[in-house]
């Protein structure tokens, strides 16, 4: 167990170092930041000063060490575009993205799980078939098209909900939250639905498949033989065993939801990290891009590691296999 944990942590650290290396290589070799920050007619002396100020005159190895130590402390240099520290920019934008992803995940679970359970229990029903077809279409519709349709229907035609921004936000220390105001909550609805919708189909299919599997098992058959009512069997026995893998997948999906938030944030002009990143990509603002890369990778690696470790705790078979393979 202990060896496994250590090995898993070392592996994660290695992946993070590799990501840091890519991020650093972007910094070092893609374009010349001095050219993009200064006007074209800047003198050689001005260029030299800025170069020294950014630390670009040091050897590559020194720069990489600086980059890693800086990144570990959350320092990613200065944005080429906004001329402000990247860490400040990200700290401003992080709460918006995390609140969006959190709400979308809740929405996806609240809608996807019941849909999955229903389609599993009533396999041949009309509504089940309808839900299946809708989910197939849902996978094929690009998320930004979903977002545009939501805006067209609920903002332009019905004029019920706002189509851009976060509404009013309250400041809790450095964390700005939209959960506490009416306009903040209203602004959250459409983006959260758009981001969550793809996950809804995923969760629905997963719950349905798992549920069908569990419903066939002896354990459910014996529960029925004991004379338990359908509801107790379906929800007490079957659903509870289904939820474990579902929660794992949703956990793993959180990372990709942070990435997909880029699209949602563009459609709804949501002032989060994704919007910051997409602006950075179109301006080739390398410090912001590499900071985003490192941060999102950190989320990914951490989530993956936690899930792996949890599995190890939950599923005793893994430790046996592990010993066998060395």
């Amino acid at each position: 167990m202990f060896a496994f944990v250590i090995r898993r942590i070392i592996q994660s650290v290695l992946v993070m170092l590799a990501v840091a290396m890519i991020a650093f290589a972007m910094f070092r070799f893609v374009g010349d930041p001095v050219n993009s920050m200064l006007p074209e007619n800047a003198s050689t002396q001005e260029r030299g000063e800025l170069r020294a100020q950014l630390g670009l005159d040091a050897p590559v190895t020194v720069q990489f060490t600086r980059f890693v130590t800086g990144a570990a402390q959350g320092k990613f240099g200065i944005s080429y575009r906004n001329k402000r520290p990247v860490s400040d920019l990200i700290a401003e934008r992080l709460p918006a993205t995390l609140e969006l992803v959190f709400s979308a995940a809740i929405f996806a679970l609240a809608v996807g799980v019941p849909m999955g359970v229903y389609t599993a229990l009533h396999r041949r029903g009309f509504i089940s078939n309808l839900l299946q077809i809708i989910s197939l279409i849902g996978i094929s519709v690009p998320t930004f098209v979903t977002g545009i349709l939501l805006i067209l229907v609920f903002s332009v035609w019905l004029n019920w909900l706002p189509s851009f921004g976060r509404g009013e936000v309250e400041q809790l220390g450095w964390w700005s939250t939209g959960f506490l105001t009416v306009s903040g909550l209203k602004s959250l609805i459409l983006p959260a639905i758009m981001l969550g919708l793809f996950q809804v189909t995923l969760i629905m299919r997963l719950v349905r498949a798992e549920m069908l599997e569990v419903l066939r098992s002896d354990y459910v058959r014996f529960a029925r033989a004991r004379g338990l009512v359908n509801r107790a069997v379906n929800y007490g026995h079957a659903l509870r065993n289904t939820l474990m893998p579902v929660i794992t997948i949703v956990g793993l999906q959180l990372g990709s939801m942070i990435a997909f938030a880029i699209i949602t944030e563009t459609v709804f002009q949501w002032p989060g990290m994704g919007l910051l990143f997409i602006q950075a990509v179109s301006f080739a603002d390398i410090p912001v891009m590499s900071a985003y890369l490192v941060l999102v990778s950190l989320f990914f690696v951490a989530i993956n590691m936690i899930v792996d470790l949890l599995y190890f705790v939950v599923d005793p078979r893994l430790s046996v296999n592990n010993k066998a393979s060395g």
Partner: protein
């Protein structure tokens, strides 16, 4: 198939085969195939069938701008799907747009396939360090969402290019980004199939008669691992079109002067609040239908050719 008699019998054999029977039985697949072929054809023939040339500024007139579709009130029969803010015919713009979207998709799928298949074959056959390195890279790439990888690569490519080249090189950057993002799946799958084939007797026999490794890999193993590659290619075409559209929609793909479907949707999105919905709805609909049709086709191929895949 140059002479008529053998090709005819081959066609007959195909028409009699299980695969074609399966195909005919699945009505959804037949429709999806017809839709896909129609879209490919109309995209390829866009310059000849489009009623207007959307890139010829001389034929545009602001008097024709923002006209609704021809069947709606105030519509003009010359503009079947209406016009955009510059008086451009939407139907023609969509034809040209899907031409660009499909070109990017097809080229990047072809490139990714070649790279992925070669890497997969070599990794599987030789194993060792090359294999370890490639598969680690594949692991890391697969653990991130494709759209994020594609965004990063196009961002890096843009950073490496001077700013004034961004628009003219957009097509190449897109193909590059999508190829780099999607070759991994081929490599993974082909490597797996190669490992299985290595244990087959025909490979052993080829080795015994002294064929060189390269001949064994490309003449003996390659034909036997192509089934899954076809399936992945179909599904990846849908994915490539989707990635292209997303990047263009996000503003890091095709420029508005040479729009793909994604760019058209991005431009149309800006008109959303002025009530001219057709500028955004029709390109979106085209994209959805295209992706859905190709996906359905891919699903059917997967089930038919290799029920065990996935």
């Amino acid at each position: 198939m140059s002479t008529s008699t053998p090709s005819k019998s081959r066609v007959n054999a195909f028409l009699d085969s299980d695969i074609f029977y399966n195909f005919r039985k699945s009505r959804v697949t037949v429709v999806a195939t017809i839709v896909t072929l129609a879209m490919l054809l109309s995209a390829a023939l866009a310059p000849w069938i489009a009623p207007h040339n959307p890139f010829d500024v001389a034929t545009l007139s602001l008097l024709n701008s923002e006209l609704p579709p021809s069947w709606a009130e105030g519509g003009d029969p010359r503009f079947f799907l209406g016009t955009d803010g510059q008086g451009r015919d939407m139907f023609s713009a969509i034809l040209y747009g899907s031409r660009i979207s499909l070109s990017v998709g097809l080229v990047s799928v072809a490139l990714a396939m070649v790279i992925g298949v070669v890497v997969g074959l070599l990794s599987g056959y030789f194993g060792g360090l090359v294999d370890a390195v490639f598969m680690r890279v594949a692991d890391v790439m697969l653990s991130f969402p494709t759209i994020l990888v594609a965004l990063l690569i196009s961002g890096i490519a843009r950073g490496a290019l001077p700013r004034e080249m961004h628009d003219s090189a957009a097509l190449i950057v897109l193909v590059f980004a999508i190829t780099i993002t999607t070759w991994v799946q081929y490599a993974r799958t082909v490597r797996g199939s190669t490992l299985v084939e290595l244990n087959q007797e025909y490979v052993l026999a080829a080795r015994l008669v002294g064929r060189r490794p390269m001949a064994i890999i490309f003449l003996h193993i390659l034909p036997n691992v192509l089934g899954p590659v076809l399936v992945i290619s179909t599904i990846n075409l849908a994915m490539a079109v989707l990635i292209e559209a997303t990047l263009s929609f996000l503003g890091v793909g095709m420029p508005p002067t040479n729009p793909s479907l994604g760019t058209l949707i991005r431009v149309g999105n800006e008109y959303l609040f002025s009530g001219i919905w057709w500028v955004v709805i029709f390109p979106s609909l085209t994209l959805v239908v295209l992706v859905l049709a190709v996906n359905l086709l891919g699903d059917w191929l997967r089930d038919t050719l290799n029920p065990k895949l996935r």
